[in-house]
Amino acid sequence: MIKTDALIIGAGPTGLFTAHQIKLIGLDCEIVDNLDKVGGQCIELYPDKPIYDIPAVPECTGEELTKNLINQLKPFDIKFHLSERVEEVKKDNVNWIVKTNNGKIFSTPNVIIAGGVGSFEPRKFSIKECEKFENKSVFYSVKDKKIFEGKTVAIFGGGDSALDWAIELSKNSKVNLIHRREEFRGAQATVNKMHALAKEGKINLFTKYQMTSVHGNGQLESIDIKNDDDEKKNLKADYALGFFGLIMQLGPIANWGLNLDKKTIEVDTEKFETNQKGIYAVGDICSYPGKLKLILSGFHEGALAARACFKLARPDEKYRFEFTTTSTNLLKRLGKKE
């Protein structure tokens, strides 16, 4: 069991700056995120898109913003737990006991949910029957590429993941690449390479087609695809891979006894505390009258939630507000003073 003053769920910009504020006032914290990297929506949805409304930063991309936030955390020792999804939050006598899908357990007086719109999960095929084959012959990521050797693989999608895997697997498998339109949104060099392989007959390309059904008994045997003009084809398929990007799901958060408004968590605007004492929500996932889904609002919310954590983490001490420009304590924590 890992003990900490505050556990932050979500390593997006709000979670990162909240961690900064918690460490600055002298508390410990750890961060859990379902993704395998830090940055949340900024990295997953718009790494290259410029953002123009971060105060004092006229223009930066999602990736640059994330890098700067990580840099700002350099003075501090913060433990990240990536690729871990929080499944359960329950109270023992005093603390919140937080469990992840991989069995990590935290004990903490403060849980700060900075979860955006929930956790990122792969988008799946719209055909319901695909569920029967999921993780056997239908996959949304590749863990072991050896299983595809010598097999016929149907790859769906138009982005880099679909293209990269079509190119890679075409070395040792029969690859059918299927996409709903002629344009691919992957990197141009990758698109060119795929087209070259298609010309050589190493990849069979089906554009303007989408999946309509799957067939097989236990193991996938074939799939049906259909184009915009209702032309149907049946393709042999030992495996089907879908690369449709990620979707955000509220997921287990819905089961933690919090007051929800649609997909957001209701909080007060003093501590950004939920209806459960010691559980806070900040950033896009929280709601209150006047809430703006801006990164700058998340920074403000995190700064206030961090101060609220102090009371529960250090019940016998009094929190004193200080400025980084003048406080010796803060400058020491930032590594600027001995």
Binding site: S126, G245, I247
Partner: protein
Amino acid sequence: MAKITYITSDAKVHEIEVQNGLTVMEGAVQNNIPGIDADCGGGMACATCHVYVQDDWYNKLSAKEDGEEDMLDMAFEPKKNSRLSCQLIVSDELDGLVVNIPSKQS
């Protein structure tokens, strides 16, 4: 103002007067019409405000930006007449627009 008709997948018809300048997505969300999730809040970054535009209207709408077509690749059951409703800005010209909401957004 424009009257926008949202038809949900259970064939229920919702006729809403939407203010000019709002998006078709916002018109749905503010009036609690089910089936439009709009997870990213209108940033053309999630494809969960996906709608089907009835044929007679499809060609009258402003053209898609590249990014919208890219996002539609990820939408649930995209069709030829698919649009992201966060990219459709309401004006008097859209008065009478009819959109169908898919059975799911993801």
